[in-house]
Symmetry: none
DNA sequence: CTATAAACGAGACGGTACGTCGCGTCTTGTC
DNA sequence: GACAAGACGCGACGTACCGTCTCGTTTATAG
């Protein structure tokens, strides 16, 4: 056992939490790139080694910090239980509104942008991002859409995954490309476009 | 005038080109983050100062290198002249196929991912990216869609910008999130979804 | 009594010995500086705290380890009983030969060099070194020289301490400066020089 | 040329000197071990890399700093030109007095002790120490002693190197072992002992 | 057809952060 | 309560690049 994985049972939870919180605070204050592991350690009152002992990189800390924030956000980070009012468009709208709000928040927005940027050159981080954030949300969304299909709200031959890619893609497009600010009206417009033709005649 | 803007007329075009090409090569070989300005200078056989004289950052070099590659690519980087076969869906498909091909190419893909990542924390670079790449393409696409609207291929009340955001958003979503590889079939599926309801009844 | 001196009666002698032996082994293998307290603990199969409980520093462990080796060496580390053959030069030669042998041994040489080096910046360690090693040997040597003086082997006005400093100084000079290897012939030469004029005419 | 030795012609002499002086100051203030390369860099107003570019280790900096101090000290660090009054004992005394003064000075003493300590575990440093400090001084001393031998001040069969080892050994012994403070009277005593028998009857 | 000023290659510089190592202390069971 | 194990806060290590700053050396007009 050369890397000699540390024992999670002996982990100092006080330090653990301090690191996650320092990360969120600093990224909100300075921006993702401007935050160094050293700065996180200093702010958290922690040794640098304690960060490197439990995470492989700044990106991994950011991911857990983000995950932590989403988990404690209303709606469980849009990944937990999806609403089912019987109206799929309405339910999608509510979820997308929630995500849009998070994306534009001072704490989550820059953190998430930085995380996705870091993941471009870090396959392990990208994997973790997909597994911990994207895939759970995607699963829940697909389940809700499958329900809508059974009920005939959506045409039986519609490709649900492509539908998700477009709706969420539009949000990420604005988050990452900064063409124009995220805005709720455009969520309505996008839902309008895709659902005009998806309902069975 | 102490900093004194350098004189473009006296610029060494040999070095200029060598820098752009070294950048493309190195990013393709090592990945965006792993490439340093020092490495580009060394590979190009150029002094570091020559890079900093003409560009403000590695990202700016990458943007010009990318722009250069796109300009010499078939289709003029999808920004120049859009085709007009009379069938808007077919024309969009052709353009999106082209972009998809670029995104998956060994040279352009990683370079563009890295560029977008760098732009997350560099507003000037983000601005330049929008102005030089995104906006021209968007303008051309909007023009082609306006034509389609005039011809009644698209409903008069459809929001053209949101349409673009969704279609391109789906592509960028897969480019940047790495949920699944870019693939032409999904372009067809996405066009299918959005155009079912956009045609006037 | 928060720090509360540990109770020597409850000391684990097995661990005690393992630490001293691990220290000697590791220093012989890797050199003094390359050996860390952590490495000693690991090699001895002992917790780090067990070392810090009984010694104030690595140097202190090294001193005890060295002392332990010398005590079990022939001649009692040249500090115990000095020979008295009636010929002071011969007796000095025998003692110096013994020390020279220890200085050039794989186990004692590097350990002692490292110890003296560490003592340069650690007054407590220096003090302990003098008290435990240097002074006892010096006392015994002075006693033997006093005997020689009484017998008229040495001039009555000779300064015995300076004599010791020169003879031993020459040995330490070569041990610590590495000008040339320690060698028995030079011991003979040095004895020859100092005793030519010390005998009463 | 992988390590790519830097070009001495382009060296910043201002930084060079600042580093040597910061080293001397800091060692005098804090002691050798307590001085880190980082502290030297900070005090000298220099990047750490500038130190590592020109020296392999803290010890090497210390050696040059020491050499620099000795070179500018009266007597050229006892290595340059030896006096020749015609009386070898007197000339040796003068030189040893000078060295003794340096050894007890606040600037040179701790620096030299630390250097010798560091050299115990750094063969390259030890080599450099011998070549730059010890050997030149030794050569000059041997030359003066050879002269004395020619003149019959010293017996023809005396081993000059051993003589040097003893005289200087006694000084280093007190410098490094701290048995008692260096003191001029003991220099006289040691000269007295060795020269009683070295003069031709 | 110089000469002169600029852009150039090379790379040393003052810095910042990296990820690692070892320090000496603290914590958690086990014997 | 001493012990093995090892996480902790800390601080220095030696490295990699950053962006700036000299250095000569081309080089390409302007006199």
């Amino acid at each position: 056992m050369p890397p000699s994985v540390p024992d999670p049972a002996r982990r100092n939870e006080r330090s653990h939490r301090a690191i996650l919180e320092a990360t969120v605070e600093l990224v909100a204050e300075l921006g993702y790139e401007q935050v160094s592991v050293e700065a996180i350690a200093k702010r958290a009152g922690v040794g640098k080694q304690t960060i490197y002992r439990w995470w492989p990189s700044k990106g991994a800390v950011a991911l857990e910090a983000l995950d932590d924030r989403l988990r404690t956000a209303p709606g469980g980070g849009s990944s937990g239980s999806w609403p089912d009012t019987g109206d799929i468009v309405e339910d999608l709208r509510v979820q997308m509104y929630g995500v849009s709000e998070l994306f534009t928040s001072r704490e989550v927005g820059p953190l998430y942008q930085g995380l996705i940027a870091a993941a471009q050159c870090d396959p392990a981080l990208s994997r973790a991002h997909l597994d911990q954030l994207i895939e759970p949300a995607s699963v829940a969304c697909r389940a809700r859409l499958a329900l809508a299909k059974e009920r005939g709200e959506i045409r039986a031959d519609a490709d649900v995954q492509t539908l998700i890619d477009m709706l969420w893609g539009a949000l990420y497009y604005r988050l990452l490309l900064h063409t124009r600010p995220l805005d709720l009206a455009q969520i309505d417009l996008s839902l309008d476009i895709v659902f005009r033709g998806l309902r069975d005649a």
